[in-house]
């Protein structure tokens, strides 16, 4: 027996639908399993119980928590972009700067942010700025690395072309090197956006009065397990949508940077 699909249109439909079918099947097994073995809701709530818990919480409360997490994650993400791309460009331009900064970047990257988060909160207070800083610390390294990698992948012939034209370095950077870095920058952005959500949630775990991370922690500590699961799923969906948005942005703004379909 082999796992091959029939040919033609049906095949394409099945191929497109199969992740969804799998997901639905998984939920069904979960639901049936919970009921069949009467698993208590404080250990593993059934999907229907989680769904009920989700609607038990008012919509405006969800939006409040969502906004709290989202604004930290997105601001941290944007600041990270604004900081890391110039750093990557500067490191490409100057060997000295690159040698000086790189070890520091590695040290920052290899320090577990989760361990530093409480200190940052203590030092800077439990407001948005410290949460945004935690998010930045988590996201900017992959962005620097992917941008720098992309910049260095520029074919040497194009750099020679630029030099043979005696063009200003600024144009070499913006008309050749940066566009060449776009595919790499976007793979960095996809990693960074999910890390940004993680950063915001970690910061909320340490100290917060709102946010999806706070909501999950708060629900767990009061043994509202179905509610915690509802928060977790909501967070996962939001994170997935953000990840997809980065892909859509690339498709919309830089369609040439994606592999051509059917090629």
């Amino acid at each position: 027996m082999s796992l091959t699909l029939p040919e033609g249109r049906l095949r394409r439909v099945l191929l497109g639908a199969s992740p969804w079918l799998f997901f639905v099947a998984l939920i069904a097994v979960w639901e049936v399993g919970c009921r069949l073995f009467s698993v208590p809701a404080y250990i593993l709530p059934a999907p229907s119980v989680i769904l009920n818990a989700f609607f038990d919480v008012e919509f405006s409360r969800w939006m409040q928590h969502l906004w709290a997490t989202l604004r930290v994650a997105l601001l941290g993400f944007l600041i990270s972009i604004a900081v890391s791309i110039p750093i990557a460009i500067a490191m490409m331009r100057s060997e000295w700067l690159s040698r000086t900064l790189y070890p520091l970047l590695v040290v920052i990257q290899s320090t577990p942010v989760v361990a530093v988060a409480p200190l940052i909160i203590v030092i800077m207070g439990s407001d948005d700025p410290s949460r945004i800083l935690i998010t930045c610390l988590l996201t900017f390294f992959p962005l620097v690395v992917s941008t720098a990698t992309g910049i260095n992948e520029t074919p040497p012939e194009l750099i020679e072309l630029s030099r043979s034209l005696d063009a200003p370095t600024r144009r070499e950077t913006w008309q050749i090197r940066m566009p060449y870095a776009i595919p790499h920058i976007f793979s960095g952005l996809r990693v960074a956006i999910t890390l940004a959500i993680i950063g915001a949630v970690v910061a909320e775990f340490v100290a917060a009065e709102e946010g999806l991370g706070y909501f999950i922690q708060f629900s767990t500590s009061f043994f509202r397990i179905p509610q915690a699961f509802a928060g977790l799923f909501f967070l996962a969906v939001v994170s997935l949508l953000l990840f997809k948005s980065v892909q859509w942005a690339q498709q919309l703004l830089f369609p040439w940077s994606l592999p051509r379909k059917g090629a």
Binding site: P155, E157, L158, E160, L161, S162, R163, S164, L165, D166, A167, R171, E172, Q175, I176, P179, I182, F254, W256, S257, R260, A263
Partner: protein, 262 residues
Amino acid sequence: MAEPAVNRSFVKLAGVGHRYDPNPAIPPAVTGIDLDIHRHEFVAVVGPSGCGKSTLLRMIAGLLKPSEGRVTVFGRAVDGPRDDVGIVFQKPTLLPWLNVRKNVLFPLRHKYGRYNREDEARADALLAMAGLEAFARKMPDELSGGMQQRVGIVRALLLNPDILLMDEPFSALDAMTREQIGFDLLSLWQEQPKTVLFITHSIAEAVLLADRVLVMSRRPGTVLDLIDVDLPRPRTTHTISDARFGELTDRIRKHIYEPDAA
């Protein structure tokens, strides 16, 4: 070519050499190259890989300073990148985010930050001359390798350079495309005369296209021979069956396979 090439030296290399490694125990990449290229002459360079052909090209382009000797163009020493030189690389290296026309105009946008209507008209004329007008709005990855390289050549011609430097421009192409694009290059060159330095791995291609062929030795690269290709122009597929064509390619082959015999 018709006129005798007396004292019409355009690009002059006098004892030119370059070493990448300052360590004197390591031989230089190229050394002691003497060469006079005449105006609108087509010179091909052949030699084993690593013998310094690209190094030679970079020194003529002003991208690399010779560590010995002097390169002069029209009597003036080359001491930096010059805007009367167009370069074509082995890979077409078109920018994947620009369409064909914008790729052709790229040198202007890159050098000056802008281009005008006349430049666009010139780009269109060049594209038409290369049989590419139908592809002007296509993206590079929609073109075959041969078409991409044609665009690369047109791009190099945009600034109307006196000198066209080509570094193994056709070696990534299949044999049939390669022959055709070679003839197309010759007809472009006939319409828009340029001084051409054409590096190639193919002995037959060198003889088929060039007025003279410079044969280089293994590292350190020196001049083994400089061969006058006295085949009539225009060169066509019939040229290949000419007995003289065989003699000339044999002479070069001898240099490459039995370097001491010559």
